[in-house]
Symmetry: C2
Subunit: 109 residues, 2 copies
């Protein structure tokens, strides 16, 4: 609880707002419960769209919309199942996830 208040109470006009666009972009994606759960589920390996929809209790086109946003952000990518190409499996791009984690950690550093 050591609050270091400045001795002189003159507004510091040299204070610059830090660059937070990457953190905001990452946070905006996690700010939705469905997308946050999707990202957490994908931590354990690829998951099918229908599996995620069932786990979330959401419709598949709804999940698809969220996956499209995560895809556009580069956080996940899709590939069809080898044995049954009807199923589309999503997996995380760990490099992009690490970058998002770093951007968020920088704000809360």
């Amino acid at each position: 609880m050591t609050t270091q208040l400045p001795v002189v109470c003159v507004p510091r006009l040299d204070l610059r707002a830090p660059d937070v666009i990457d953190a905001v972009a990452a946070a905006s994606l996690i700010a939705d419960p469905s997308r946050a759960a999707i990202l957490a589920m994908l931590a354990d390996g690829p998951v099918c769209v229908c599996e995620m929809a069932a786990a979330l209790g959401a419709r598949e086109n709804n999940v698809s919309n969220h996956l499209a946003r995560l895809r556009d952000a580069g956080l996940v990518r899709a590939s069809r199942h080898e044995a049954n190409a009807r199923f589309l499996y999503y997996e995380r791009d760990e490099a992009a996830v690490a970058a998002a984690r770093a951007a968020l950690a920088d704000v809360l550093r």
Copy 2:
């Protein structure tokens, strides 16, 4: 790039959606550029409302609204300047910030 697709393509209905409410709450706060910048600025110590407003190029009541949300979440607290109590200085609650950081890191684990 070792995508471990299941050999048998049967939807895993046992898949449960993980608990992400804490991460979503934290992300929702960071998802706004003003709040993200505020949290980042406060990492270096207490800052006055007028200083944050000047750095952000925002109006003071706007900044005050964002600070109220961060306050309600327990991430920041306010105290008046000892020498000049007209100025209200905000500082982070490092325990709460650490908890938010942990919740976010858990989703992107």
